[in-house]
């Protein structure tokens, strides 16, 4: 335990300003509970040898991953802002070490509040055998991973207190994010967390955002603590045993470990507007993503959007460190700004740049739009005007919005001069028709193609 020394006090008297510091390994946990100061913002600086390598802004119970922890000389500076007023506190290792008791994570949560799993051995055998058999046939990572996650959820015995929201979220659906936000008021419930299984936050706008009423995701600290968790350990053990079943099957891939789990995003953006959804090219407007921290030692994608259109999207001054292939990856960005984001790789591999891709519609139909046709009378600035504009900002970007890959190994088709409003009119009928074609799957691409021929030119 350590009591911070207040060196300047800007606030009126705040009771119970003791901050309990718990150091567990390389993590410095604050369980500071300023009485009456819930929803306060905390701004931390950890100083080693006169440098400030770590700055963290967060809500309520921040925790700081200090890596590497040199354990000797350091100074912690903390600014707490509550209701517009700030309180500055600082302490150094001499203060902390004198009263700090090194406590393990188990002590933080209490031994009864850890994630534990209890397996029915016959069901476990059955899972390993069935997943291995299916993977041998389809080598589909998603199928294998989803089966493992489902099994682990069913086998969970006790839950660490602060992991409960993540488990509740994933039980609603295997792709459910920790936070599913539909409008700006929904952001109030977002708290920093270091444990989530799929996305941390999915912003699923409903339309109606405007320059006057923008949505801003800011100051969120996302640390991917599921990597190296008990959940991951059990997940990876199952993966090893599944792969073992197929050791000499000659497969080109193994089931990947948890750190390579697909479809995990720090912040995912999904547009919806009135009757249009993202697969019909709905547009998200006036969203700003700034000053967030996203860190993962796994393949977590940083800021990600794969479907629909994005107008006046600002992605600025975020700090992203991940081992994933996508740090900032937006398909369908029409206009906006990408600037001042600090992107690094957490695995020593090449650091991917911020990348923009063509607008994608149709979901699995995988229709990608390289350019648009606008009707006479529609002008830049109108809601139904579509154009890939130059992106503001100094960020180095790989702009692939108008690029058809030289080698197309997937099912994607690429289209020029697409009349998107017209496409949105035709889409529901085509979609309904496609659903009826489930008995004739070879007809489905032809149905999509017919619709696209009416609104654009195949590239």
């Amino acid at each position: 335990m350590a009591r911070f020394i207040a060196t300047s006090i800007d606030l009126p008297t705040v009771e119970n300003s003791a901050i309990t510091m718990i150091r567990s390994g390389s993590k410095l946990y604050s369980i500071c509970e300023f009485q009456g100061m819930h929803k306060a913002y905390f701004y931390w600086q950890i100083e080693f040898n006169n440098t400030f390598p770590i700055k963290v802004r967060g809500l309520n119970r921040p925790q700081i991953d200090i890596s590497p922890w040199d354990g000797t000389n350091y100074r912690v500076r903390l600014t707490v802002t509550h209701k517009g007023q700030s309180r500055y506190l600082e302490a150094d290792n001499t203060v902390i070490e004198s009263i700090e008791k090194q406590v393990s994570l188990e002590d933080v949560g209490g031994s009864a509040n850890l994630d534990t799993f209890s397996f029915d051995s016959s069901k476990r055998d059955e899972l390993i055998s069935s997943v291995a058999a299916r993977f041998k046939l389809d080598q589909n990572q998603d199928h294998a991973h989803n089966a493992i996650i489902t099994f682990l959820l069913d086998s969970k015995e006790t839950t660490q207190d602060d992991h409960l929201p993540a488990y509740e979220a994933i039980k609603r659906g295997l792709n459910h994010p920790l936070y599913h936000v539909r409008k700006s008021s929904g952001l109030r419930k977002v708290e920093n967390s270091d444990f989530f299984i799929r996305d941390f936050l999915m912003l699923h706008t409903q339309g109606g955002e405007s320059a006057r009423d923008p949505i801003t995701l800011k100051g969120i600290s996302i640390r991917d603590g599921a990597i190296n968790s008990k959940f991951q350990e059990e997940f990876d053990l199952l993966v090893d045993e599944i792969n073992d079943q197929n050791f000499d099957a000659g497969l080109r891939t193994d089931v990947s470990y948890f750190d390579q789990l697909a479809h995990r995003d720090g912040l995912q953006l999904i547009p919806r507007a009135a009757s249009l959804n993202q697969f019909m090219g709905a547009t998200m407007s006036h969203v700003s993503v700034r000053g967030n921290t996203i860190e993962s030692n796994g393949a977590l994608q940083g800021i990600f959007a794969s479907d629909g259109a994005f107008r006046n999207l600002h992605i600025t001054h975020n700090r992203i460190r991940t081992a994933g292939a996508h740090t900032i990856s937006i398909a369908g960005m029409l206009s906006g700004k990408i600037d001042g984001n600090i992107i690094t790789s957490s695995n020593g591999g090449p650091t991917p740049k911020a990348t923009l891709y063509p607008l994608r519609i149709g979901g699995g139909a995988n229709i990608k739009i390289l350019s648009f046709a606008n009707n006479a009378g529609v002008s830049p600035g109108d809601d139904n005007y579509y154009e890939y504009e130059a992106i503001e900002g100094d960020q180095e970007i790989e702009d692939l919005r108008r690029v058809k890959p030289l080698v197309n190994r997937g099912t994607a088709t690429y289209w020029h001069d697409v009349d998107l409003p017209r496409l949105q009119q035709l889409y529901p009928a085509t979609y309904a028709h496609v659903k009826r074609l489930s008995q004739w799957p070879h007809e489905i691409p032809r149905a999509w193609d017919r619709m696209m021929q009416q609104v654009g030119v195949k590239a």
């Binding site: 390994g25 390389s26 890596s67 590497p68 922890w69 397996f119 051995s121 476990r124 055998d125 390993i128 055998s129 990597i227 190296n228 350990e233 053990l237 090893d240 045993e241 792969n243 073992d244 079943q245 050791f247 000499d248 000659g250 497969l251 080109r252 891939t253 193994d254 990947s256 750190d259 390579q260 030692n297 796994g298 393949a299 081992a323 292939a325 957490s346 695995n347 020593g348 591999g349 090449p350 991917p352 080698v407 190994r409």
Partner: protein, 274 residues
């Protein structure tokens, strides 16, 4: 020779005893996994603060799907074993491939690196002793946790023979499996050989080979390999799947040549031909 494996019940009891009554003696400071299992699978995950989680799964017989998992069996190894791992007197065919690890040790960069291990008999002979040793080499060198590109730990299988000479039987990373082949003098080994170990300077190196090793003529030889293209989606984006697998296999075979000192080819069923 016909070998009879213990029944699952007895095996479960053994696993339970292993959990509850660690075999710690002054003569044998490390856990001894004994021989009463068909297959053993072990891995150690380290964190950047040098704490670690280990797990050993023991399989009673070839039909066992889920192993009996025991944890907390890896313990810090005595200094003489660590010294033996890096001694130039120790026979180590992997020294050239993992030259960076050797160099790091010589520079003293692994002085504070935690080395943990278990005793793991690889044959029925009582004259030799073997240990499975693990250390977070990359973490010790970089100070950061690099799970995705680097499996959690570096591993060595070290043997001291009847004459007191040491030999590294296997050096690898991540998961190690040991399989009791009743027809063979020594147990069979399985590991992954990672391309970025074979080409540490190449940021694009990806994929790995799942490799079986068999003992012959005083050392282990790779006898079967299955190349895997996991992790190659990004670095080999311009290749199709067949080209990726060819690239990964080519690089792995070159690496195995470096380890064995002989040219190696891979047949359709994964067998390696010298």
């Amino acid at each position: 020779m016909i070998k009879i494996y213990p029944s699952c019940g007895i095996f479960g009891l053994i696993a339970l005893l292993l959990l509850s009554a660690p075999a710690m003696t002054s003569a044998s400071p490390l856990y001894d996994l004994g021989n009463n299992w068909y297959k053993m699978s072990a891995s150690v995950s380290f964190r950047s603060d040098n704490t670690y989680r280990d797990r050993v799964s023991l399989y009673a017989n070839p039909q066992t799907v889920s192993g009996q998992t025991v944890r907390g069996v890896f313990k810090p190894i005595p200094d003489y074993l660590k010294a033996a791992v890096f001694s130039m007197q120790t026979v180590n065919p992997f020294r050239a491939v993992f030259s960076e690890v050797q160099a790091a040790y010589q520079r003293g960069q692994l002085n504070n690196c935690p080395f943990v291990g278990i005793e793991l008999p690889l044959n029925q002979e009582n004259q030799s002793r073997e240990w499975l040793i693990s250390a977070p080499v990359k973490i010790c060198l970089s100070g950061s946790y690099q799970r995705s590109r680097e499996p959690g730990s570096h591993v060595w299988l070290l043997q001291r023979n009847a004459q007191g000479r040491y030999q590294v039987m296997l050096e690898s990373a991540g998961l190690v499996q040991v399989i009791d082949d009743p027809t063979a003098e020594y147990k069979q080994l399985r590991t992954r050989v990672y391309n970025f170990h074979l080409n540490p300077a190449n940021q694009q190196a990806c994929g790995y080979g799942s490799v079986s090793w068999s003992y012959r003529g005083g050392r282990y030889w790779p006898v079967q390999m299955f190349p895997k293209i996991n992790g190659c989606e990004r670095t080999m984006a311009h290749f199709n799947e067949m080209q990726r697998i060819q690239q990964v296999e080519k690089s792995l075979l070159l690496g195995l040549k470096q380890i064995t000192g002989q040219s190696v080819k891979r047949s359709e069923n994964g067998s390696l031909v010298y």
